[in-house]
């Protein structure tokens, strides 16, 4: 026999996964189709944009302004940052609005609600995979030494996906209760982008030694920064990130993921009512 509602769990659970795996696949497949088949260029678009931005940033900061003198391979440096940031931002934004925009479904049938933001985020992972598929071979050609560290990108990106899932779950629930969360978030992403070392490296500044606390805050106070830095380190700079950074990358992502899942399951019931 089967009961169609999971008992309310105290701890977050993935117990629904076997039964609802098919639903998750269906939602992801549908999300992919909507996202990438709708326009004529499809997935190509999600690539063109970061590549174009890479060109623009290189032109402005490297060619014209010449403030990137000590950063080798600046275009790849920017692109590796954009790969992480692009997924981070799009995953959270799409995940956040997903519960409200699927309200029709949620108020009429029962299934684990966490599937909805999760499917938005999972579909969005395609963008980072495609970016990495271009970035990694290029980096290997430019600096063959990257072959020694590049495999570490797998667990780092896994941690990143957990982080984005967790934040998408948290914000999507918040957005159900306060509908302006998605707008506040959209506004917040621009300063957030500039506070994330995508266009620059945190250690590059002369202020790095005189304002150590500020650099520390920027590195560990912004959850996406360690992921940007460590992906870049293993893909482009053939460096294994230091222990604090690695610890952060492997711990914070999964913890935020669990927190998001727990929140989702905590508010499971109230979501349908608020919608």
């Amino acid at each position: 026999m089967a009961v169609n509602t999971a008992p309310r769990a105290v701890l977050p659970t993935l117990g629904w996964l076997p039964r609802y795996g098919e639903l998750l696949r269906t939602l992801v497949r549908r999300e992919l189709r909507a996202r990438f088949k709708g326009s004529a260029l499809g997935l190509f678009w999600s690539l063109i944009y970061p590549l174009a931005m890479m060109g623009v940033y290189t032109l402005v900061f490297s060619v014209l302004w010449k403030v990137t003198g000590n950063i080798p391979h600046y275009p790849l440096f920017v692109l590796s940052g954009l790969a992480v940031w692009g997924f981070f931002q799009a995953g959270i934004q799409l995940g956040t609005t997903s519960l409200v925009s699927n309200g029709d479904l949620i108020t009429k049938v029962w299934f684990p609600r966490e599937l909805v933001p999760a499917s938005a985020v999972i579909a969005q992972t395609v963008t980072i995979f495609v970016m990495l598929a271009i970035l990694i071979p290029t980096c290997l050609i430019v600096e063959p030494e990257n072959a020694r560290t590049v495999v570490l990108v797998v667990p780092i990106v896994a941690g990143l996906i957990c982080l984005v899932l967790g934040l998408a779950w948290l914000f999507s629930v918040a957005n159900v209760f306060y509908r302006d969360v998605e707008h506040l978030l959209a506004v917040g992403f621009l300063p957030w982008f500039f506070l994330t070392p995508v266009l620059y490296g945190l250690d590059q500044f002369s202020a790095a030694s005189s304002h150590r606390w500020l650099i520390l805050l920027m590195r560990y106070g912004n959850p996406v920064t360690p992921y940007v830095e460590s992906v870049r380190a293993v893909v482009l700079q053939h460096v294994v990130p230091g222990a604090p950074l690695l610890l952060y990358v492997f711990l914070v992502g999964p913890l935020v993921g669990l927190l998001g899942l727990w929140t989702m399951q905590r508010f499971q019931d109230r979501i349908a009512i608020e919608l």
């Binding site: 169609n4 549908r30 306060y178 509908r179 349908a272």
Partner: protein, 406 residues
């Protein structure tokens, strides 16, 4: 502690079932407002359902009747698992197929076929099962030529057919139905009832919610009567329906509250109902269907000459039209009925509200009024067509060979 417990396939058991909703008094939907005002929105608790016990055996058809706002839909949604109970226990055995509201579990942007897969996945079915049954499902819904079109372009009749077809093909143990079946053409309804009868014969359990006591009596073995969230009467469907009728009559003499049996002055609007061509009382109609709006009036000391106005508004509150009956006479101390007949309901798809006002003959004094006395849902038959009004009229077309007088 509220919980859902185990039950054998096709069984539904509830003990002391209750559900409380927190109503926000100030509709505060923005974080900005909450932060600026530094206070949480004021709320009030509302018990939609209280202390309800239920036992539905496998293979039984169980009806839920009661006036508007009595907790019928809440009970259905609890059984469907959309809400969790606040108090008591509820156990539902096996897979629950639900046909609650039109297009339950459809995504408007998905095509018909995609929605079949989505819906089946929600029910926990594997993809290959749907692969095997897809043609059958689409064929039963008679949607072969619309299978690859987003369902938002479907008419509600088409929505319903697809929803019904999927729900019947996912092999549910318990089937939840509400009045959606009132939608669709006669032939398809017959087909649905045939399918439901088969389902019941094969041992499936049905839980059916309706405003129409007649339909419950026809379809159900057992029933429960709800009022203000409490179960008033349980037992064989016939008895429960009789109890419901009795309550309706009584509430007109007692000073009851709420929608049913309003308290007014010596003259009052007691109830407004919509009656279909076959005499059944419904709130869902198909575009162009023959129907009547029925107003029940009560005057303690009688009324020599009054005026009754029925007004129609769309869901946005926009007035669409009204009709006034002059020289209405009411006998003292009796419930009296008047009807406004429509040979074909002049509304297109949408939700509409009926307002009623009872005035003195010269229109100087408003004796009673009831805004939103009734909510109507109208369903279109064909996709397309805009506006709230079914314009009607007949066309005279050009002949095409220049012989017209143009």
């Amino acid at each position: 502690m509220a919980q859902r417990a185990a039950a054998a396939a096709g069984e539904v058991h509830a003990r002391g079932l209750g559900r409380v909703f927190t109503i926000r008094l100030s509709p505060n939907r923005s974080l900005k407002a909450a932060l600026l005002r530094r206070e949480l929105p004021r709320t009030r608790e509302l018990w939609a359902l209280r202390d309800v016990d239920l036992d539905v055996a496998p293979g039984e058809a169980f009806g839920i009747v009661g006036p508007n706002g009595s907790g019928k839909s809440t009970l259905l949604k609890l059984i469907a698992g959309i809400f969790a109970p606040s108090t008591g226990t509820l156990s539902v055995g096996g897979r629950v197929g639900s046909l609650i509201e039109i297009g339950a579990g459809f995504h408007p942007e998905f095509t018909g076929v995609e929605n079949v897969y989505l819906n089946a996945a929600i029910y926990g079915l594997k993809r290959d099962y749907v692969d095997r049954h897809l043609e059958e499902i689409i064929a039963f819904a008679e949607l072969e030529s619309f299978a690859d079109v987003p369902v938002r372009t479907y008419s509600s009749g088409m929505y319903m057919r697809l929803g019904f077809s999927v729900a019947m093909h996912v092999q549910p143990d318990v089937l939840l139905l509400d009045e959606v079946l009132a939608v669709g053409d006669e032939a398809f309804q017959q087909k649905c009832f045939g399918k439901i009868a088969d389902f019941k014969r094969e041992g499936g359990t049905i839980v059916f919610v309706s405003h129409d006591p007649g339909a419950v009596e026809r379809l159900c073995d057992q029933a429960v009567l709800l009022d203000h969230g409490r179960s008033i009467e349980r037992g064989p469907a016939g008895d429960v329906v009789r109890a419901y009728h009795q309550r309706l009559v009584h509430s007109s003499h007692e000073s009851a509250d709420g929608r049913e049996g309003r308290v007014g002055g010596p003259c009052r609007v007691h109830e407004v109902r919509a009656v279909a061509g076959d005499g059944s009382v419904r709130e869902r109609f198909t575009e162009g269907e023959p129907m009547a709006l029925e107003v029940w009036l009560y005057a303690e000391d009688g009324l020599d000459e009054g005026r009754v106005t029925l007004g129609l508004r769309d869901s946005g509150g926009q007035a669409l039209g009204s009709q006034t009956a002059e020289s209405v006479r009411l006998a003292p101390g009796k419930l009296e009925r008047l009807r406004l007949h429509f040979p074909g309901l002049p509304l297109r798809e949408g939700r509409f509200y009926v307002d009623v006002a009872l005035e003195t003959a010269d229109g100087d004094a408003l004796l009673d009024h009831d805004d939103r006395a009734l909510e109507l849902s109208v369903f279109g038959q064909e996709p397309g067509g805009g506006g709230a009004i079914r314009l009607g009229g007949t066309w005279e077309l050009p002949t095409g060979d220049g012989t017209g007088d143009g």
